[in-house]
Amino acid sequence: MFGILTVAIFLPAAMGLPVYVLGRRNIRLARLLGVGTTAAELVVTLIILGVFSYGIGGFQLAEKVDWASSFGLTYHVALDGISLPLLLIATILSFLAAYGSTDLIKEREPEYYALFLLFETGIIGVFTSLDLILFYVFWEIVLVPMFFFVGIWGGPRKKYASMKFLIFTYTGSVIMLFGFLAVYAWTSSQGNPTFDYTELVGRVGGLALPLQLAASIATFVGFAVKLPIVPFHTWLPDAHVEAPAPVSVLLAGLLLKMGGYGLIRFNLLFFPAATNVLWPYFAAIGLVTMIYGASVAIVQRDLKRMIAMTSINHMGYVLLGAFTLNGIGLSGAVFQMFNHALAIGILFLMSGYIHEHAGTRNIDELTGLRGKMPLTVTLLVLGSMAAMAVPGLSNFISEYFVIQGALRASYFFAIAIVAPALTVGYFLWMLRRVVMTPGVGARNEISLHSLAILAAFLIPLFVLGAYPGPLLDSIIRATTNPLAPGGP
């Protein structure tokens, strides 16, 4: 029956209409209700964290209701160690981004917060649904608000960027849908057709290898566009750069995680035989993506574009880690998604504040920024440290896990170590110009609560860096067992 997960999924969407209707009369009310709902959502998630049992693997808090039984559809949602950190990060980031929006979004606010809440419902639905079509429904619900975010509130090239984003990701999605339909068609040829994930996991093993390969590649394309991998990544720099800063936080922090989560849940753990054939290719694509993202980031002059390229670099770790086919690499991949969301969140939001206060995002023109914004610059250093995966922050743990897992899979993947080196290179280059230069200009610091929002991103990274504790433990439990039979 329905329970707390349903509340977590639909609370934001249910508040969307009131936010719009009441917000049209009073803009402050739109902000208050919008941010308030995301805060309430965070509270719901903390309750879920409280009732979740950490010691055991498998799905918990499951809710299963018939949805369209004639088509084999169920409303089935549940959490396990893979989805729990993503649920947590989705609500943390939504709250911080919504709060940050109060400074950075100045027009059509009622529409903005209503779409924001619809987005949050979509993203939480993606991370919790265990029915292929339900998953796809939430997957596409995310698309529509994002299209409008970039198209209405975006920068100068917003129209181009929003259309490119829509067409890339929608085409990817329908290809992914083909993979799901192929699996469904196979189950109905066996009698007892179903889209239910938990039922399918047991049965898909019997699917003939060629069909499994076709379905696996089809879903891979859909997830890979979102992740994004090279060469499907070209929508990302455009969308990230044009989107307003809080939306970039959502894009990089959450939308890309949909790709990573999908790869792990609906590809890696779903098509065991296909994965055993395809993993070296997928992992190699991840490696290429890591190094490509880092290399392209080096030559960027726009701070925001550089951060966007960092995302490509860091999401490559997720792909590589997942397809090492061992528990350590996979748990690193999941943990990396959590950490990357926070690290990229602070950097993107900061780029928005810097742009607003300094009037530019060009790294050369930002020289001497510490004279104007000393506190912001301090946070920029800390955020960059997170992105560089300096030990002491949890990013280090996840990147270490991924590379360790990759080495266990094949010594060939030792090349992966180039990627962190490049990342450190371009971040230090950026910091050298922006921070390590004599301060210029009068002090023009961003407001205190903006600084508090930025600092809030860092707290979990430091805490989990020192004590990864139950969160990492539950990830490891969730990722080790399913791999045990098929993995090398």
Binding site: E140, I167, Y170, L181, Y184
Partner: protein, 486 residues
């Protein structure tokens, strides 16, 4: 089977014939309202009785029946009546003050009667009667703006091609009668299973003629040329009737003829449909990408959507047919409403130009939000209705034992991706571009009523598709049970 089972047909016939003379009665205001009121009563009575009968009195027709009262009939009757009601409600504003309002509504209802007869017929002669009853009023309706050269040109093109398609259908019927000695679809199915080689070529010829004849009205490539011109020239409400009503009625006839009668014929006629389906959806979508006029864009998008429904003929298993029928239901609602939106825009702006949609969200907010939802529905974005019917249809195709099933599904999915190019582009124009003139445009209430009703249906069907999928499956089973039994 009693006369009550035919209430939808009888009520349309009675009210349809009564509207025009009744419109001559009364004076002044009463004269203007009498014809629309009678029409709406007739349409709602028919719809209500079709829904009630569909739940309570649907039955498998006996041998020799020329008209069926099964769930398939009531399914199509319901869908077509919803289209007619949408068109009728929009026409309340559209035709206000027109001196020929009464004949307009009379023709609308008689054409609708033809459509539902078409969906119910189990006999080729009755099918032909329904076909003509549907077509003839639409010629007059297309030419309704008789001083407008575009309307006349559209009607002429439409008339010539439709007359040709009717002639081809008559020829096909005569060939089938020659082969089987019957005009009853079920009797034909029995003889077509064991056809002798010497009459085989005539059977093939009949199939080809049926495909061309129905294809003209179904607007599948390569018989689609008249569609954009006719939809653009006709009064936009009649565009809706042609695009959703007449087209879906032609699909109903094609379902009856191909699934029941031609089903057992041992010729690979399915492969023809597979090719037509792929070409139709691809050409429709690619052409739609290049249109500069809203009605032409809608016309090409309706061609593309016909391509998706054709998949049900190419892989005629229960699931694909159910998916096809479900898509008929969703498409009819979405497309009718999209044309009504075009009417709303056309009242004040030039609809021949997509540039007038720039920044429409600021000028006509209600129309814009509805167009956005309807277009996302047509593109197949969940959780809107169009997604579930496409998913069911494509799943049926993949599930098919025929070798082209998988390719059809891939083509359909990729086409859904392309279609986002123009659906999304129009949403971009409405919401992201700036209007050249920022003034608000009044949005007539009867248009908005249709648009909100269609949007609500699209969302409701999408959020809880179970009863609608069940209904489509029941209709598909009712159709297949009359066909050859394996």
């Amino acid at each position: 089977m009693s006369l009550i089972d035919f209430t939808p047909f009888i009520s349309l016939a009675v009210f349809g014939l009564a509207v025009t003379p009744a419109g001559l009665l009364g004076e002044g205001k009463a004269r203007r309202t009498i014809a629309p009121s009678i029409s709406m009563i007739g349409l709602f009575l028919a719809l209500g009785s079709a829904i009630w009968l569909g739940f309570s009195a649907a039955q498998t027709p006996g041998p020799g029946a020329i008209m069926s009262t099964d769930i398939f009939t009531y399914f199509f009757t319901g869908v077509l009546l919803v289209v007619a009601i949408f068109v009728g409600v929009a026409s309340l504003s559209f035709m206000r003050g027109d001196p020929n309002e009464a004949p307009y509504f009379g023709l609308l209802i008689l054409s609708t009667l033809g459509m539902i007869v078409l969906a119910a017929s189990l006999d080729l002669i009755l099918l032909y009667v329904g076909w003509e009853l549907m077509s003839i009023p639409t010629y007059a309706l297309t030419a309704f703006r008789k001083s407008d050269p575009n309307s006349n040109e559209a009607a002429m093109k439409f008339f010539v091609l439709s007359a040709l398609s009717s002639a081809l259908i008559v020829y096909a019927i005569s060939l089938v009668f020659g082969i089987s000695g019957s005009t009853n679809l079920i009797a034909i199915a029995n003889t077509f299973g064991s056809i002798t080689p010497d009459v085989r070529p005539f059977g093939v010829l009949a199939i080809v003629l049926f495909i061309v004849g129905f294809g003209v009205k179904m607007a599948v490539v390569p018989f689609h040329m008249w569609i954009p011109d006719a939809f653009e020239g006709a009064p936009t409400t009649i565009g809706a009737l042609l695009a959703a009503g007449a087209k879906m009625a032609a699909f109903a006839a094609a379902f009856r003829v191909f699934i029941i009668a031609i089903g057992p014929f041992h010729v690979e006629w399915h492969s023809i449909f597979a090719i037509i389906a792929i070409v139709t959806m691809t050409l429709g979508n690619l052409a739609a990408l290049m249109q500069k006029s809203f009605t032409r864009l809608l016309a090409y998008s309706s061609i593309a959507q016909a391509g998706y429904i054709m998949i049900a003929f190419a892989t005629p298993n229960g699931q694909a047919i159910a998916g096809g029928l479900f898509h008929v239901l969703n498409y009819s609602i979405l497309k009718t409403a999209a044309f009504i939106a075009a009417t709303a825009v056309a009242t004040r702006l030039s609809i021949s130009n997509l540039d007038s949609f720039n920044g429409l969200a600021k000028r006509m907010p209600q129309t814009s939000i509805n167009i956005a939802v309807l277009f996302l529905g047509l593109a197949g974005v969940p959780p809107l209705s169009g997604f579930f019917s496409k998913a069911l249809l494509f799943a049926g195709a993949v599930n098919s034992s025929l070798p082209w099933g998988g390719y059809l599904a891939i083509a359909g999915l990729l086409n859904s991706g392309f279609s986002m190019g123009y659906y999304g582009w129009l949403i971009k124009r409405m919401y992201f571009d700036e209007p050249s003139d920022g003034s608000r445009i009044p949005e007539p209430r009867s248009y908005m009523a249709v648009l909100w009703a269609a949007t609500a249906l699209t969302i409701i069907i999408g959020l809880y598709p179970q009863p609608w999928i069940q209904l489509s499956q029941d209709a598909a089973n009712a159709l297949k049970v009359l066909g050859p039994q394996a």
